[in-house]
């Protein structure tokens, strides 16, 4: 049993706040859920909607079919009613529009009027949530509790919302009762209700990140918001830079001087950072760069999702230098993986990328508590007995990693880093032999980094005939597609990459030799991972399933495409 809800209206109708509260309330009551947003790049008007799926366990993705459609305006009804299941219900305001021929599925609630009576029109969606609770057979108490917590200190706001909530509840309760069966509650302990940007922000803070310099850009801005909200209670400084060039260069200065530092942006802002990435590579300065992808080129679709910057990130920055590229696959994994990014950056003294996208960043999920004791805070600095004096920042070593100390750390020792090619001390050089030695030293670090990459996650049939390959935020949707294919008797599995560079290849070699048909599933038009795999391993994948309309995949779409191709 599961319930799929779609709530839609115009931007500026305050949907987000109340839906966040509802989601949290349901998670508090031990339901597993996922909550995704589809919104336009505007502050008022237009058509925005969210999907909420409550399903057994912890659902991975939302689906197209709708059980309850909460239509705050007529457009929502017109656009989405075709996906309403036959037994579905529509919560709507009969003062605003009617449902000719579809009255039997309607749950009319005077959203506007009841909201006004409670204290303001903006609470129409709170009224709607009250009605929604009736259909799901739930009481209002948990949402009430959360309203009180959330608006504590804001005189009257909680009270008004509670009034609106109850009015919606009572109104719906008069005409109908629970018409959907909720899935069984989870019994495996407390869960968080958290979105991707919050996961990244919390992981950064808990990894000891002390400095975030960034320039706002959707969908990465939530990371800035999270970390800023934790300062000054926690030792982190968030600085809104004058531009992305400043953002990355500031972060590099902070990293050089001794703190874990990070910057975050989306593709357009990252374009401005390219020279700074190269500087991190040349100066061997640890830095974590989070790129929240959205569709390009240029401004593209600012609030939508895409995975089209993998090639760009792999090649960004002029010259040759080692880097690592990791990606956010699920809310569960991303927390630890961002920590890994910090650890790699410090260990290999190099830029490390963490790729997310709008689909991950803006999606809330119920996830189990994180184990903070699994996080590393190893700065990999040289002990005083471990470096030769006078100190040389770029001492040649077998691993390519030079012992690192911080400026000001030891009396009499200075630390010089340089964007020009340099000698071991950090001084500018131009001779051919030092140049070769230094390039080799830097590139040697890739050997160690390659050892640290996790093989892609394998899920599904242990002896698959069909293999679905993906990376990043498609983890959940491909996983559900595999479940559906297996249910249809197709022996299939998912091979999903979180660490992308240096590309881990062992499982690729063993699995691609075995399977009958392989698919690479990506939110881009070029099949970028597919090409990368071919370039690095010489292996080819049979088909690509690509989606580049700015929307995330749905499991059914993948299943259909796979079946068409077999």
């Amino acid at each position: 049993m599961e319930i799929n809800v779609l709530i839609g209206g115009a931007a500026g109708q305050g949907m987000e706040t109340i839906m966040n509260l509802l989601g949290k309330a349901l998670v508090r009551e031990d339901f597993g859920l996922i909550y995704t947003k589809d919104y336009m790049s505007r502050v008022r008007g237009g058509h925005n909607f969210s999907r909420l799926r409550i399903a057994p366990g912890q659902p991975w993705t939302t689906v197209e079919s709708i059980d309850v459609l909460v239509a705050l305006n007529e457009e929502t009804y017109r656009k989405h009613s075709q996906n309403l299941v036959p037994s579905g219900r529509v919560i709507y305001d009969p003062e605003l529009f009617s449902l000719p021929g579809d009255e039997s599925r309607g749950v009319p609630v005077e959203l506007k009027k009841l909201a006004e009576e409670a204290g303001g029109r903006v609470m129409a969606n709170t009224v709607a949530v009250g009605a929604l609770l009736v259909l799901m057979g739930l009481e209002t108490s948990t949402v009430e509790e959360l309203l009180k917590d959330t608006f504590a200190g804001k005189e009257g706001v909680a009270e008004k919302n509670i009034k609106a909530l109850k009015a919606g509840y009572d109104s719906a309760a008069r005409t109908c009762s629970a018409c959907f069966e909720l899935p069984a509650k989870n019994q495996d302990g407390k869960k968080l209700f958290i979105d991707g940007n919050q996961v990244v922000g919390m992981a950064a803070l808990a990894s000891g990140c002390r400095f975030l310099s960034a320039y706002p850009m959707t969908p990465a801005t939530g990371i800035m918001n999270y970390l800023a909200s934790k300062s000054p209670d926690y030792p982190v400084i968030v600085e809104q830079a004058e531009d992305e060039i400043a953002a990355i260069n500031m972060a590099l200065g902070a990293a050089y001087a001794g703190v874990r530092a990070m910057t975050c942006t989306s593709g357009g802002g990252f374009s401005l950072m390219a020279e700074g990435v190269s500087l991190a590579g040349m100066t061997e300065t640890p830095l974590v760069i989070v790129v929240g992808m959205r569709p390009g080129p240029a401004t593209g679709l600012p609030t939508r999702t895409e995975q089209a910057d993998l090639e760009f990130i792999l090649h960004s920055g002029h010259g040759e230098f080692p880097r690592a590229v990791l990606s956010a696959t699920s809310h569960d994994d991303a927390f630890y993986r961002l920590n890994k990014a910090f650890e790699l950056a410090d260990r290999y003294q190099t830029p490390v990328f963490f790729l997310t996208d709008q689909n991950f960043a803006d999606t809330h999920r119920s996830v189990g508590l994180y184990d903070f004791s699994r996080l590393g805070y190893n700065r990999f600095l040289a002990a005083e007995s471990n470096f030769e004096k006078p100190y040389k920042r770029y001492r040649i070593t077998e691993s390519g990693i030079s012992p690192r100390i911080l400026p000001g750390q030891y009396e009499g020792e200075t630390v010089l880093i340089d964007s020009d090619e340099h000698d071991e001390k950090g001084n500018i050089i131009e001779d051919a032999s030092t140049r070769r030695t230094m390039v080799d030293k830097r590139m040697r670090k890739l050997n160690g980094m390659a050892e640290e990459m996790d093989e892609p996650d394998l899920y599904g049939d242990p002896h698959p005939e069909v293999l679905l390959i993906g990376w990043g935020s498609t983890y959940g949707v491909i996983r559900e597609a595999v479940d559906a294919l297996i249910a249809r008797g197709i022996k299939s599995a998912m091979l999903h990459f979180s660490d992308l560079w240096p590309l881990p290849q062992k499982r690729l070699h063993s699995l691609l030799a075995e399977v009958k048909h392989s698919f690479c599933i990506e939110n881009n038009a070029g099949g970028q991972l597919s090409k990368l795999i071919r370039r690095e391993s010489g292996l080819s994948i049979n088909s690509n399933i690509l989606k580049y309309d700015g929307r995330p995949f749905l499991p059914d779409e993948i299943v259909k495409e796979v079946q068409n191709d077999l």
């Binding site: 803070l205 002390r210 400043a246 902070a254 001087a257 500087l279 100066t283 911080l406 400026p407 500018i428």
Partner: protein
């Protein structure tokens, strides 16, 4: 540990004989020695250009970054470790051209650092193109009909943006330069010293003699009169005033952030496990 000026001089310079950069380097070494700042507590941050090579020639920590991007890493480094004395030293092209946006916004931000600009009114390293401060009419290989746009006035701009410390020096007046550098380094907040510097190879207009004949030291008692400072900053031509035109501290970036009070961020211990209560927000 006390250091003499010579102790700060290191490396083999790659500047042309007779270049004003030598005097600036000596003045800086002298200033650091007189301030009693040991090299490991000083951080020199520069961009790219002839002037920006200075971290290789002064014994201190050094961050020789990208062209135009000296200020941002300096700000980041100061946030990370406020115990470092941070000095940004770069050219006029680097500071006012490529890095113009950072120049403007860091005056607003007011980090506690000294910004020493070697203003030779030309792009030295790339062989003589116009810089933002080049005199109108100056002909170069690129500006073949002469510079046609007015020069940027860094001191006026800094004053308008609200800088707390604004000074002009000339590399040929080394003692004055050294004293001004010391004041700038000691100043709490962003301190701009625009240093007129002859480029013997590429600037045939503003030569050593040209500056020498024009510079003078006006009487400025307590440089806290903004309008007067603005006046001085705008004097150019036959008479070019030198000195600290404005010196009035206000809240620095560091002072404005509660997190930065106490131990430098880079020294604070950390254990991720202690942060697991962060999850309560999401329960």
């Amino acid at each position: 540990m006390t250091c003499k000026a010579e102790d700060y001089m290191t490396g083999e310079t790659a500047w042309c004989p007779g270049c004003g950069n030598y005097d600036i380097r000596e003045a800086l070494a002298g200033a650091l020695a007189e301030l009693g700042l040991p090299p490991h507590q000083v951080l020199l941050v520069s961009g790219i250009g002839q002037a920006a090579k200075i971290p290789h020639y002064i014994k201190a920590n050094g961050f020789n970054g990208l062209h135009g991007r000296a200020l941002p890493p300096a700000v980041g480094a100061k946030v990370a470790n406020k115990d470092l004395t941070v000095i940004v030293e770069s050219g006029d092209g680097d500071s006012y051209g490529e890095g113009g946006n950072h120049f403007m916004h860091n005056i607003r931000r007011n980090p506690d650092l000294a910004h020493l600009v070697h203003d030779n009114q030309v792009y030295g390293l790339t062989k003589g193109q116009a810089s933002p401060t080049s005199e109108p009419g100056m002909k170069t290989g690129v500006q073949v009909e002469g510079v046609t746009v007015p020069a940027l006035n860094p001191l006026s701009l800094a004053l308008v943006m609200g800088a707390g410390f604004v000074a002009r020096c000339f590399s040929g007046e080394k003692d004055h330069l050294k004293a001004t550098m010391k004041a700038a380094i000691n100043f709490p907040g962003y301190a701009l010293v625009d240093i007129l510097q002859p480029c013997v190879s590429f600037n045939k207009v503003n030569t050593h003699g040209w500056y020498k004949n024009r510079v003078y030291f006006p009487e400025v008692e307590a440089p806290q009169d903004w309008a007067k400072a603005m006046d001085l900053s705008r004097q150019w031509g036959d008479q070019i005033p030198l000195g600290i035109f404005y010196n009035k501290p206000h809240q620095t970036f560091g002072e404005s952030r509660a997190v930065l009070k106490g131990e430098p961020l880079s020294n604070r211990p950390f254990n991720p496990e202690e942060l697991s209560s962060l999850q309560n927000d999401f329960l």
